[in-house]
């Protein structure tokens, strides 16, 4: 079903395909080392550096018994000599069975997927899409809550520019999710996403600070509020501390509630949260390996 189908955008997959990936990821978590990919080569083309994502993909390939070729930033490729993306993809396609790519320009992965017969996994294209992050978020939610249906998710921080929250919203909107958005005025969830939820009849609220709805949440999804997003630096100074999660704020929350964060974190989750069993962000990163194993195996038709 998913064989040879590139994964560029989270909307490329159906709800059934999400669930199949999650089930498969669960299998790999229980039995990680296989030799499924014995004769397969994956190219990881990172036109901009992202060490964590690249290592996670490479770990997934190696755990499935495959081999990895590639580069970790464009300085070590012929991009510096002025080669077009078109040419790079055409050439690399001859050397591998699957391409994993990260590129600073938006739409680069879609373009790449259309000029090669080798399937492409988008590992981030500028501010646009990062679908494997969304699938690992879904896996983390499903694993900790036992279901994806009828949950309440609190999204905190930069909801305007954060691609992870947008993709997660699109994916979770298929599971009767209730959303609470907490952000400064300058970084509110864009209208198009609220309109989308409205059109599906899903409930959401918007707030400027943490309030009692923290206690209703099944998942708190934290994101980083970046200084450069503010037009007014004074406004940043005034608001930055309102979006820091501290351990004592978790006192009244549900026992099953988990805190997620796509990482890297700067200071938006206080380190005193780390020891709380509700902190899940490091395990979330580990889940990324299982989920990427599942995605790669599905696309190569090995699962």
């Amino acid at each position: 079903m998913m064989k040879n189908k590139s994964l560029v955008s989270i909307t490329d997959y159906t709800k059934e395909e999400y669930l199949r990936i999650l089930a498969l990821a669960d299998e790999y978590e229980n039995q990680p080392n296989t030799s499924l990919m014995k004769d397969k080569v994956v190219a990881t083309l990172f036109f901009e550096p992202s060490t964590r994502t690249r290592l996670s993909f490479e770990s997934a390939v190696l755990k499935l018994g495959g081999k990895v070729i590639g580069f970790s930033d464009s300085n070590s490729s012929s991009v510096t000599k002025g080669e077009t993306l078109y040419d790079t993809i055409k050439i690399v396609s001859n050397y591998c069975d699957l391409i994993v790519m990260r590129h600073p320009l938006e739409g680069a992965a879609r373009f790449a997927s259309e000029i090669t017969s080798v399937p492409v996994i988008n590992a981030g294209d500028g501010a646009n899409q990062h679908p494997t992050q969304t699938l690992l978020d879904l896996y983390s939610i499903s694993k900790t809550q036992g279901t994806l249906n009828n949950l309440t998710i609190l999204m905190v921080g930069d909801l305007k520019y954060g691609r992870t929250v947008h993709s997660l919203l699109m994916a979770m909107s298929q599971f009767q999710t209730t959303f609470h958005f907490i952000s400064p005025d300058e970084l509110k969830m864009p209208e198009e996403y609220k309109y989308y939820l409205h059109s599906l009849g899903l409930k959401y609220t918007e707030q400027k600070d943490f309030s009692t709805n923290v206690n209703e949440a099944d998942i708190i999804y934290m994101t980083r509020v970046q200084k450069e997003r503010f037009s007014d630096p004074i406004e940043y100074e005034r608001t930055k501390n309102a979006y820091i999660l501290k351990n004592k704020m978790l006192d009244g929350t549900k026992d099953t509630m988990k805190v997620l964060h796509p990482l890297p974190r700067v200071n938006e989750i206080d380190q005193d949260v780390d020891a709380n069993p509700k902190a899940y962000y490091f395990t979330q990163a580990l889940n990324g390996v299982y989920v990427r194993q599942a995605i790669i195996a599905s696309i190569l038709g090995l699962s």
Binding site: S9, T84, L85, Y86, H103, P104, L105, E106, G107, A108, R110, F111, D125, G126, A127, N128, Q129, E192
Partner: protein, 153 residues
């Protein structure tokens, strides 16, 4: 063109197409989208004509030239209210309005400077999200280019 009874008259054509209700400021975009600069038939342009609906409008009269819908619909991006009169034997035999197509290929530029289509040699592609107030969703970067920012390549 002659002035008669304070009305501007553009000479009538025997056979061809009249494109009316073009906003005056997009006349040259329409000319370029339809490649009119490469047609060897007789063409008359009028621009900055008064229009109750558009303020200032432009009109194009093309002798012995007819368009298929797919071709003419391309101008809907810049002149959504344009109207076509098909002329045969000095008579209007058919009136048409333009319709924004569902997909726009190779006409408009994506307004996102970080879009791959603005950085590699790529034929642009958009899905039309809204026809009235035109909104184009880029096939590549998935960002939206709105009516105000549509730039014709």
């Amino acid at each position: 063109m002659l002035q008669k009874d304070n009305k501007l008259e553009v000479s009538a054509i025997e056979n061809g197409t009249v494109i009316d209700h073009i906003p005056a400021n997009v006349l040259f975009k329409v000319i370029s989208i339809l490649n009119l600069d490469k047609i060897d038939k007789q063409i008359t342009f009028g621009t900055n004509l008064m229009s109750k609906k558009l303020g200032k409008k432009a009109i194009i009269k093309l002798s012995d030239t007819f368009f298929i819908d797919k071709e003419i619909n391309k101008i809907a991006l810049v002149a959504p209210q344009a109207k076509l009169n098909i002329i045969r034997n000095f008579n209007v035999v058919e009136k048409k309005i333009v319709e924004v197509p569902e997909e726009i290929i190779g006409i408009a530029k994506c307004m996102n400077p970080k879009c791959i289509s603005n950085n590699e040699k790529i034929v642009t592609r958009f899905r039309v999200l809204s026809q009235k107030e035109v909104k184009l969703k880029c096939h590549y970067c998935e960002k939206i280019t709105d009516q105000e920012h549509i730039e014709i390549i």
